[in-house]
């Protein structure tokens, strides 16, 4: 308040703010021109009229500033609503599990109990007496349980299929010698893809979407697992077959004996299997027995036969018969000390595919065999393997403690599985002591994990796990038993059962935590997002009056609503009425309250609202683009091919704008409009050649973003792109400025020199980067890196420090010429000119708002170009050109002043389109993390994440910055004097401008909010879809991130920037 009073005094004396009063004369002196009458007249007039005119001007400026702040507040409210909606949905949708780095070790038992007898000498095993020295673990990919059990042809209506009865060896051995073998259904936790299954089978924990660990991008397992434990125990490990193991456990296997095979060629049924056989059987030769301890063999033939032919095909029968032979050979060759395990990692559906969670996909088979004869059944009813996978199944993670304890290893830290009963029951099935011992160990380890997990989550000890009571019961039973000298088997049985109960209960809880969606929370999020869109639609498209008039009442009611809601939320939470954390319930009810308040303010006054239906083909087109794309996100195909769809829409817009241009009355409009329409289409099509294909687009897509499909470096020819950009882009911008004679003042300096210099340094940076990759220069890597970091920081400083300063303080891009006599009748001049005497020609008058504001887009363009790889820089250059072209199209088709929705929507499409053209896809793996090191040598917060955002969402950021231009470009300058209303209240054209800007901003926001709501709803709706984790979930995350970024940039850069450009125009031309 004080400062505004100060400036009021100053303006009272000087007629303008200090900057304005000093700079224009200096500029004019250098031109040796007389004092411009326009300005001088204004000054003298204001001096003469004294305070009346002056306070009016001042009041208009203050009104503008005040209303501008109010609008920022409204946009900020929308931002907060979006954040709240996304938060509540994400909380229920994105299942996360923290990866604990803790490792179990041989020396540290999971409980401190000196009475434990398991630990013996090093040859006896760690936590428990070991049963086997060696093991052969054979995985037959997609070995479904019903493949392995006999199906009698006469049984009910079910005919024996081609895949039945082809691999009888497992069932036969389990029936004929139950002490040597057992066969059980082996249930996978979805997703049933091999990589996720191997994770589960070795770590003993459940897969979630985000295993939030230190190693986010890579696939290598960094939590405790079976393979790491075996390796730590000094075992020599051999892996044969599917190369997924190599990605998960790099460096764990004996390099000389290991033979990985490519796993993705599903058409090839035999290469992998024959390769495994070829290398597996020689290892079983007695003279090779000392060279290995554990073999992991992974056969893929059954899986591939399923993918290629489906299960009910002779090829599947043949493949299963071959596997039968392989297992018989193994049985013949394996020695007494070796455990033989055969299992499927998942099943397959009726078409032979897998990945989801249908019964057929999760039902695999597990078979264990040893010649020692140590296996048993505790109950005579369970001697025979179950006929269907629904009976007596074991979860797949049970393999982890079972194998660990059988081989005398510590149980991996994160394990949630239980020891398989048959493996520890002893030959007679009566070894209850052993069963209790292994289950006590496992339970203790699970408890230790629970404790650590709760600790690192920051929650109270075991708050989530109400199962600890069960464990205490079991422990009590155990202690009572151990005190009495001779334990009865019945008592042991009950202790065993209580340990099992604890383990399964914990598993259920964890499954609930990590694998169950919190649907109410998801609905809360969707509800908030939906309500925000409804409000936005009416605010952006349905208001007939000036939006600034609404600001006060809107902000008031939103404030009251959110305050009341938040307070209610807090009370409810403390009164324990709702089962939520205090902050969450506060946020939820504050959001709901603000929505109610906002609707009250927007919908209450009658007559101000109209139904927000489009009133022209342009409006319908905008709706068509937004809605059809949003509906399309329900389909994985349209999500995968989003880049092509955006090109299709952009070309459609170009064609319609070309058609519309041909209808224009004036020849100049017609020619310019058609030219820019064609240019717009062509540039988009050229940009579309820059592609980075996602996996699902194969084989119909060829990546061009990098030098080859398998590299992430640029080809040498691509290093020319930045230089081409340096040469051309400033010229392109200049040509658009020159069109309205606006290449004057700050524009020529900033675009002609600053922008070009920045682009040149950028191209030099990428040349050095290329030189570093290709080792073309005899300089050390350190020197090159240092130089590069310096250059990059220079460009960023130029773009964002110098650029922002220039943007805030520079004058409008006009030049003033004063001629003594009237020469050009059609040259537009200020209304304050004195008639007859002299003519003041102001070059660049026609586009004074647009060219002034565009400087901000130039700054961001420079910063974003630096952060892109060379190919992406080309795309950004084309984007800037397309933006300018679009602005001209809008102008020639009279869409600037008509507040059409099409301008902002096409800008949004452009930003989304170029997201794909800068080497990104809606998948996590396409994030170019390495770009955060362009101007930095080490990771620095918060800069590194901001830089990655600048790289990833650069195109959307650039188009967001350009949004106000859709109503500013070539906007006629209206002054208060011109549009003086008949009533006493002066109408302020700057306020009309503000209202238009915020309408454009909200329309633009509407596109991203709609896309976000659509992807959110589809991801929530399709949460059981096979492609959830590959397609829908990443697209939802991208939609949410883009919306957040766009909102923030709109509030803090784009709409905020309008303040400075409008003030700067107002200082020169008055209000």
């Amino acid at each position: 308040m004080e400062s505004s009073l100060d400036s009021a005094n100053l303006t009272g004396m000087d007629s303008s703010s200090p900057i304005a009063s000093q700079s224009p004369p200096a500029q004019l002196d250098s031109r040796n021109a007389p004092i411009p009458k326009a300005l001088a007249a204004m000054q003298s007039k204001t001096r003469q009229r004294g305070t009346i005119q002056d306070s009016l001007t001042n009041g208009l400026e203050r009104e503008f500033k005040f209303k501008h702040l109010g609008l920022l507040g409204v946009l900020g409210w929308l931002l907060l609503l979006h954040v709240a909606g996304i938060f509540f949905f994400t909380k229920g949708f994105l299942l996360t599990r923290m990866v604990l780095e803790n490792k179990s070790s041989c020396e540290v038992l999971p409980f401190d109990d000196p009475s434990h007898l398991g630990v013996g000498g090093e040859n006896n095993g760690c936590w428990h007496q070991k049963t086997f020295d060696k093991a052969i673990v054979i995985i037959i990919d997609a070995l479904r349980y019903d493949f392995t059990v006999p199906v009698a042809p006469n049984e009910a209506s079910d005919m024996a299929h081609l895949y039945h009865n082809n691999i009888p060896v497992l069932y036969e051995t389990a029936v004929n010698s139950p002490d040597k073998a057992f066969l059980l259904p082996f249930i996978a936790d979805p997703p049933t893809t091999t990589l996720q299954r191997l994770k589960g089978l070795t770590t003993g924990t459940l897969p979630t979407f985000i295993d939030a660990g230190s190693n986010f991008a890579g696939t290598a397992i960094d939590e405790d697992n079976l393979v790491a434990q075996l390796r730590a125990a000094g075992k020599n490990l051999v892996q044969l077959g599917d190369d997924t193991w190599q990605a998960l456990f790099p460096g764990y296997f004996d390099a000389n004996l290991t033979r990985p095979f490519d796993s993705f060629n599903v058409w090839d049924l035999h290469t992998v299997d024959n390769g495994v056989n070829e290398h597996l059987f020689p290892l079983l030769h007695p003279q090779n027995l000392t060279r290995w301890d554990v073999i992991f063999g992974h056969y893929l033939g059954v899986d591939h036969a399923g993918h290629r032919y489906g299960p009910n095909h002779p090829a599947m029968g043949a493949k299963l018969k071959q596997m039968d032979e392989v297992i018989r050979d193994l049985i013949a060759k394996v020695d007494d000390d070796t455990l033989l395990v055969v299992m499927g990692d998942h099943g397959m559906d009726s078409k032979g595919d897998h990945g989801g969670e249908s019964d057929d996909e999760v039902n695999a088979a597990l078979w264990m065999y040893s010649k020692k004869g140590v296996f048993g059944r505790t109950n005579p009813e369970t001697v025979l393997p179950p006929n269907s996978a629904r009976d007596r199944f074991v979860p797949q993670i049970d393999l982890v403690p079972t194998l660990s304890l059988l081989l005398g290893m510590p149980i991996p830290f994160n394990n949630l599985g239980s020891p398989i009963e048959e493996a520890f029951a002893g030959a007679g099935g009566k070894d209850w002591n052993n069963l209790v011992a292994v289950n006590r160990l496992t339970s203790a380890q699970i408890k230790r994990y629970q404790h650590e997990y709760a600790k690192s989550r920051g929650a109270g000890d075991g708050q989530e796990f109400q199962s600890l009571g069960l464990l205490e019961n079991a422990e009590d039973g155990w202690h009572t038993l151990s005190k009495s000298s001779k334990a009865k088997s019945a008592a042991l049985h009950s202790v065993y059962e209580s340990y099992r109960q604890y383990q399964r209960h914990t598993l259920d809880i964890c499954r609930g935590l990590w694998a169950k969606f919190d649907v109410p929370s998801m609905f809360q999020g969707i509800g908030i997002l939906f309500a925000a869109i409804v409000l936005l639609v009416f605010y952006a498209r349905g208001l007939r009056t000036n939006r600034t008039e609404l600001t006060n009442s809107l902000l008031c009611s939103v404030g009251i609503g959110s305050g009341l809601g938040g307070a209610t939320g807090l009370c409810l939470s403390f009164a324990n009425v709702v089962d939520m954390q205090a902050l969450e319930s506060l946020a939820l009810l504050a959001a709901v309250g603000s929505i109610i308040g906002g609707s009250w303010s927007i919908f209450k006054p009658v007559g101000r609202l109209v139904l927000p239906l489009p009133d022209s083909l342009w409006g319908w087109l905008a709706v068509l683009f937004t809605v059809s794309q949003s509906i399309g996100f329900a389909s994985n195909s349209y999500t995968i091919w989003e880049d092509e769809i955006l090109l299709f829409f952009l070309t459609t817009f170009g064609v319609v704008s070309g058609v519309s241009s041909m209808r224009q009355k004036s020849t100049a409009d017609r020619v310019l409009g058609a030219y820019h329409s064609i240019l717009f289409i062509l540039l988009g099509r050229i940009a579309s050649f820059s592609r980075l294909c996602r996996e699902e687009q194969m084989p119909f897509c060829r990546s061009t973003y990098y030098s080859s499909a398998t590299s992430s470096t640029s080809a040498p020819w691509q290093l020319a792109i930045p230089f081409i950009l340096t040469l051309m882009l400033p010229g392109v911008v200049r040509s658009f400025y020159a069109g309205s004679k606006s290449y004057e003042g700050a524009a020529s300096l900033w675009i002609g020199i600053g922008f070009r210099l920045g682009l040149f340094v950028t191209s030099f940076f990428w040349l050095l980067e290329g030189a570093d990759d290709g080792e073309w220069l005899p300089l050390s890597k350190e020197t090159l890196k240092m130089v590069r970091v310096f250059l990059a920081q220079l460009v960023l400083a130029l773009a964002f420090a110098a650029g922002t300063t220039a943007f805030i303080y520079s004058k409008p891009c006009v030049s003033v010429n004063v001629t003594p006599a009237s020469s050009e009748p059609d040259s537009r001049s200020t209304p304050a000119q004195q008639p007859g005497r002299t003519t003041v020609t102001i070059l660049g008058f026609g586009n004074v708002h647009g060219t002034r504001f565009f400087l901000l887009a130039v700054n961001f363009c420079l910063g974003i170009v630096l952060m892109q790889k060379p190919m992406g820089q080309g795309a950004i250059g084309l984007l800037l050109w397309q933006i300018l072209s679009l602005l001209e199209i809008l102008d020639t088709n009279r869409l600037v002043m008509s507040n059409s929705a099409i301008g902002p929507i096409v800008l949004a499409l452009l930003g989304s389109f170029h997201f794909f053209k800068t080497g990104h896809q809606a998948v996590l793996s396409s994030i170019q993390w390495e770009t955060s090191f362009i101007p930095l040598s080490t990771v620095k917060y918060p800069w590194s994440p901001i830089l990655v955002v600048l790289n990833t969402f650069g195109p959307q950021i650039l188009t967001t910055v350009a949004v106000p231009l859709t109503v500013l470009w070539k906007r006629p300058l209206q002054l208060q004097g011109q549009s003086k209303s008949t009533t006493g209240k002066p109408s302020n054209p700057a306020i009309a401008l503000l209202s238009d800007v915020v309408q454009a901003a909200c329309t633009y926001m509407l596109y991203f909010a709609t896309v976000n709501l659509a992807t959110t709803m589809w991801a929530g709706h399709l949460r059981r879809h096979l492609m959830l984790y590959r397609i829908f979930s990443p697209r939802f995350m991208m939609g949410a991130a883009v919306l957040g970024v766009v909102d923030i940039v709109l509030v803090f850069v784009a709409v905020a920037g309008v303040r400075f450009s409008t003030l700067s125009v107002g200082e020169i031309f008055g209000w």
Binding site: L617, F648, T667, I678, R685
Partner: protein, 291 residues
């Protein structure tokens, strides 16, 4: 969805008077065949569908001639050749024309005799003949039809096909592969859309300026042309779907869309509730995109 690719070539004449919407000739044969023709085309498409799916290029190439023949037969039988659109010959239709175009028709009527500003107008002679002497009218009309049909065939092949092929590429058709598919698809679309237009309007600058601006008043020819383009636009929709159907291959769906669009457009353009109306892009009342 017409092509904007060469709008600058259209220099606006000083006082452009565009021809009125063309109606189907009033002979019984013309009326009958005009109704049969779109069905014939759809039948052709249905018969050839399997062949089209199994070998698109061959089928498209082989069907080019029959399609051209059908289209020529249609225009010669059913449509007035370029320059002959005269209120006299289409009196029946003019009376049914909705009021908005009536004034323009009158203007046209008064100016058509003095429309010498336009240099080349095939069929002009025929028109004059008809105007001057009824004795040589029949022969002149035939000459006009021959000239117009030859011109329409030539322009369709030489101009419309490349323009449409470029459009297909701009909308995302592959640039480096599938050249034959693109060109043949464009040729089929051109035969569907452009033959009638060229036949009826010749190289009348005012008419073509309206074509580029999608400003033509609706009639069978313009409806069919616009329908072809819009249909092809919608035909691209199923391509990305992962149904793994052989007919999803480019350019089959686009062609099917174009044929269906032609069918719909030619009937809708003729229907009395639409005939003579223009598409509005940006005005207060206009909402409908097409048809």
């Amino acid at each position: 969805m017409s092509s904007p690719t060469s709008p600058t070539s259209q220099q606006p004449p000083p006082a452009p008077k565009s021809p009125p919407p063309a109606s189907i000739l009033s002979t019984p044969l013309a009326k009958t065949y005009a109704t049969i023709h779109p069905f014939l085309l759809l039948t052709l498409l249905a018969i050839r569908f399997n062949a089209l799916v199994s070998s698109p290029v061959d089928t498209l190439l082989r069907d080019l001639l029959p399609l051209a023949a059908l289209q020529l037969a249609y225009v010669v039988i059913c449509l007035p050749p370029a320059g002959t659109i005269d209120p006299g010959t289409t009196a029946e239709s003019t009376t049914t024309t909705p009021t908005p175009t009536d004034e323009k028709e009158k203007e046209k009527k008064s100016s058509s005799s003095s429309a010498g500003g336009i240099v080349l107008r095939p069929g002009k002679r025929g028109y004059r003949r008809k105007a001057h002497g009824a004795s040589s009218g029949a022969r002149g009309a035939i000459m006009a039809k021959v000239a117009a049909s030859l011109l329409s065939l030539a322009l369709t092949t030489l101009l419309a096909t490349p323009v449409l092929a470029v459009c297909l590429v701009l909308f995302g058709a592959p640039l480096t592969t599938h050249h034959l598919e693109t060109v043949l698809c464009a040729a089929h679309m051109a035969l569907l859309a452009a033959t009638g237009l060229v036949y009826v309007y010749g190289v009348d600058g005012a008419a073509w300026k309206e074509v580029w601006g999608v400003l033509r008043p609706a009639d069978a020819v313009w409806g069919a042309a616009l329908g072809t383009c819009v249909g092809a636009w919608f035909g691209a929709v199923p391509i990305p779907l992962d149904w793994d159907r052989p007919w999803q291959a480019y350019p089959i769906t686009i062609l099917i869309g174009a044929y269906i669009g032609y069918f719909v457009g030619s009937f809708v353009g003729r229907s009395s509730c639409v005939f003579g109306k223009r598409i509005v892009i940006d005005a207060n009342e206009g909402e409908n995109k097409d048809e």
